[in-house]
Symmetry: C2
Subunit: 599 residues, 2 copies
């Protein structure tokens, strides 16, 4: 194990200002990188590696010079052949893996080639499978203070004893009768387990809840729509832009009563800045998809909240896509870094948004410093940095009964849930994403609780060039790509960056790839059994050696055609994604295996 020790040796020769600058640097770095309690750099205690969501590991035994010698060390079958989106966790000599529904939690012995130590079977309600919009995925667990926290598809949050596998508590948060499921990986901050719901396609009302880690009791719950009292907007709420200001915008920006079924679910990533003591998370699309059914800005959907973890009180909000036209959930991860911008160090968040822009925002205020397209965009014409508003392209605005062609980004976004990695060494953001376009037709939709509530027909297809996926390195200072790699299918896996200057990601055909963090050059690849949509992680094993682990098993929204055995003749299946993935069943098969690689 590599303990997280200070890298700074104070020297008497250093002038005071240098010492001070180093001290501040160290303090900030520590806060952002390793604030998770008790963690060591060789462990992986949360899906995103750290509160800053960098998915960067200081381990460097595996590096760009030797990664071509990487070998499979052992494998483990999860026994569940559905989309494997989870990140394995590594704590001490144990690895924890959560499966898709039925959400089995395994503890694997790293001293014994992954032999199971125990398994916990929560037996979630089977009906949850029918409610999940897009495969029955789970994005992982969180370790804190001897407990594994994770969510089950049927809307429960669990605390499991990490040593014994016994359930400590279980709290029901979601209601599958209303179409509410839970797929996200929780984040634990200051003893609060942060959990949000899925189901924006079912007219669910979104929320983020905080449960007390000790007993699972509810500490607070912040809705994404509705009156300020329920959105937890109070005196401390100071948004940067005028568009986010006003009383009860979560009600007034909707047709009457519509906010109650207005979406804004919270199924993505939560970041935390211990210094500012703020959590950051995005809200999902407004419901129904058909925008004509819900005139107005539809606050607080398709945006990002900064909140205090203890109380849930909002500090600011910013709406990526006011009155979202295309199912552009705002739930993608926000990566917290400090950047030198125009001579000043700024505490920013980097956010590759579903609407196609990389946002660089001041994470203290919610100011958009820049918003730059990282893909081809036809749906909008930029972001007005004065007002903060996305500038829609009227030609691509959906209307009921009319087919609008070549909309980009598609409903699944320029990038969906699949998380980026950030390397402080290269100062590049590694973005797994898609290159798709869609035709979109608004249709009538009525709301019936627990059933799909869309009001559109969607057909997605490959964007220009024909490659449906890309993996790129984004320079947020230069506001341009450093390099990009084209992939046949959407890159639906997470990214991992390491101090060995290697970046890892997987493809939907099943390749697990290592590329040079600086140049993007492919250094190594291995063909796993099924398509990869999981989150690669790296850790230091009980033998002190570095390993890389990833789950293989295609599925998720993009891979639902394989995981769910959908009919390729219906391009509108899986909310329109099947049209773009007709040939995936020829390229890969269902699976559910963990692969562990080492030198």
């Amino acid at each position: 194990m590599v303990p997280c020790t200070p890298r700074l040796l104070l020297s008497s020769k250093m002038p005071g200002s240098v010492v001070l600058r180093w001290f501040v640097f160290f303090w900030v770095s520590l806060g952002l990188r390793a604030a998770e309690p008790g963690s060591s750099e060789g462990e992986w205690r949360m899906a995103a590696k750290n509160y800053a969501n960098t998915r960067f590991s200081d381990l460097s035994e595996i590096n760009s010079a030797n990664v071509n010698e990487l070998k499979v060390k052992w494998t483990f079958s999860t026994g569940v052949n559905r989309g494997q989106e989870a990140a394995p966790l590594i704590i001490g000599d144990t690895m924890y893996v959560v499966t898709p529904y039925p959400n089995i939690l395994y503890a694997l012995d790293l001293k014994n080639n992954g032999a199971p130590k125990w398994k916990y079977e929560p037996k979630p309600e089977a009906a949850a499978q029918g409610v999940a919009c897009c495969d029955v995925v789970n994005r992982g667990a969180f370790y804190d203070d001897g407990k594994i926290f994770y969510n089950t598809l049927d809307g429960n949050t669990l605390a499991i004893d990490a040593k014994t596998g016994k359930q400590i508590w279980k709290t029901k948060l979601g209601d599958i009768q209303k179409g509410e499921t839970i797929t996200m990986a929780p984040l634990v901050v200051k003893g609060k387990v942060l959990v949000g719901d899925s189901g924006g396609e079912f007219g669910v009302r979104g929320w983020l809840a905080a449960l007390n880690a000790d007993d699972g009791s509810l500490a607070w719950k912040a809705y994404s729509t509705g009156p300020d009292s329920e959105v937890l907007i109070g005196d401390k709420y100071k948004p940067f832009y005028d568009q986010e200001k006003g009383k009860d915008l979560g009600v007034s920006t909707w047709p009457p009563e519509h906010w109650k079924i207005g979406g804004g679910t919270v199924w993505g990533w939560v970041s935390y800045d211990p210094e500012l003591n703020l959590i950051y998370y995005g809200t999902g699309n407004p419901g129904a998809w058909n925008p004509e059914l819900r005139p107005g800005d539809n606050k607080f959907t398709a945006g990002i909240f900064a909140r205090e973890p203890e109380t849930g009180q909002a500090r600011w909000f910013y709406q990526w896509s006011p009155h979202d036209l295309y199912d552009h959930d705002g739930i993608n991860e926000s990566v917290l870094v400090d950047l030198e911008l125009e001579g000043k160090t700024r505490k920013v968040l980097l956010h590759a948004e579903r609407n196609g822009y990389v946002y660089v925002m001041d994470r203290g205020t919610g100011e958009v410093i820049s918003a730059t397209p990282f893909v081809r965009i036809t749906a909008s014409k930029g972001v007005d940095l004065k007002t903060g508003r996305l500038i829609p392209n009227p030609e691509k605005e959906p209307h009921t009964g009319k087919v609008i062609r070549d909309i980009s980004p598609v409903a699944a976004g320029a990038k969906d849930w699949q998380p980026c990695a950030w390397s402080p060494r290269t100062k590049l953001l590694y973005i797994p994403h898609q290159n798709l376009a869609m035709d979109y037709e608004g249709v009538e939709a009525g709301y019936i609780a627990g059933t799909p509530y869309l009001g559109v027909n969607v057909k997605m297809y490959a964007g220009p060039g024909g490659n449906r996926g890309e993996f790129c390195a984004w320079d947020p200072i230069k506001k341009e790509k450093a390099w990009e790699l084209k992939e046949k299918f959407p890159v639906w896996s997470g990214a991992l960056a390491t101090a060995g200057d290697v970046v890892f990601y997987g493809t939907m055909e099943g390749w697990f790839k290592a590329v040079d963090a600086k140049s993007g050059q492919e250094l190594w690849k291995f063909k796993t059994g099924s398509g990869i949509i999981g989150q690669p992680v790296t850790y230091s094993g009980p033998d002190g050696k570095q390993y890389v682990a990833v789950l293989s098993g295609v599925g998720g929204w993009a891979g639902a055609i394989v995981a769910g055995g959908l009919d390729p003749r219906d391009p509108t299946a899986a909310l329109g994604f099947v049209g773009a993935m007709k040939d995936l069943p020829q390229a890969t098969t269902k699976g559910g295996d963990l692969y562990v690689f080492g030198l």
Copy 2:
């Protein structure tokens, strides 16, 4: 590829007798090793590698000196998490893999890391799953003349175009309404596709059928019970022992009409000797298990037939277990080799039988040359070589209403279906097998078509020493073990031997192991995702390098507790096997992946 070229260079210096001897040797070797049409040594065209069922490959790039460097080259998920008992086939640059029910056939591109070329989905009747006694396994396919032949669980035999994946013909042979399924790998001899049925636990009547390879029409069908006309016993039938002689023994050795539901199913292995032009195969247990329900020898169950492939006419029969008391199916493979015995070269078959003896038989006549215990046996006291009869131990004879304890071998036998390998270099037979004992109680049983027909309560448990599995090397000349390896669980995988003097097998925990063919020393192992019950194979890839492949995915009778999710609290579940495997669910998980290894 290594073409199968004659190894003999005729030299003018050789004396005539030497030339003659070499010629005979070559002719015999060719006949036994490579009679499958058009095959090359680098291919693997049938589950057992060759008609002789040796599972020996002449490839030696991977050998005892370098096997410790073996690495996973690629993997492929079958998408089906049930017991994977099939052997992959390799023809040219394509690998063919059959899954358990729903029996999908994949063609994988060896030039492209196993990317699927095509898949064929036969969609067998779902009800077949409920009829299969012990998981929904399939043991593999056969390649001949551009076609892949294989069977589906619901009783169909298929011919598929090896290039295109299109169905050429489909013939229904089994009837799941009666409890008949098909799990075995067919053997094609002289244009006849040989297929037998499964379902001895359902009162099925056993048979071996021969279908014409061109169109799937029935050439002949030989029942295991009933009148000679249906057993295909005629003028050519010359058994060695008196006990096998007489008219219509398939009727007269049963209570009236019982032969119609008497079992003797043919779900194991078929061998073929092109020189003698005889096929060899075993027959399953008589039904019901409870022997008091069926007084008599119960011909022709629990024995071995030699037949002519063109007509099916029987040439001899030998009954391993007359009036079988313990579900001792006789279906294990017969390995055809030529042995020097007491100064004479004899054409023998080696057969590690479920009843615990290794039989060395003259394959021309059906004479038992020797029958030696390869495990601890309490159920019988040897084989009388004069009469050919097994000598039962009266103390262990089952009686209705009485529990008989410590019977060995158990119902699953000393060894079940899992096939041995033979190395002509070491002259050792490598036997994967179990070390179990059982308690057995006869109970009343009535016959209802399509439902289990047992009449016993069985509980299996570990034999002396506590290790439930063993892998041994048997010397059929010395009639003793050369070495043995103990395993925690039954060794339910096949064996593979190579000219590199390495033997491969898998464990139910998921280890794939390479051991020294001479000493049994463990040389290498790799932890696959799930328990291994498949048949390892080796081949020469398109790059000319040697590879080893095996399917991982626990199940089968021994692993049904995991594959079928059975309740470990009922030791009589899975026909009594669950009692012996209660801890398997802690050791492994369901799976279904192909692993390909190379240097």
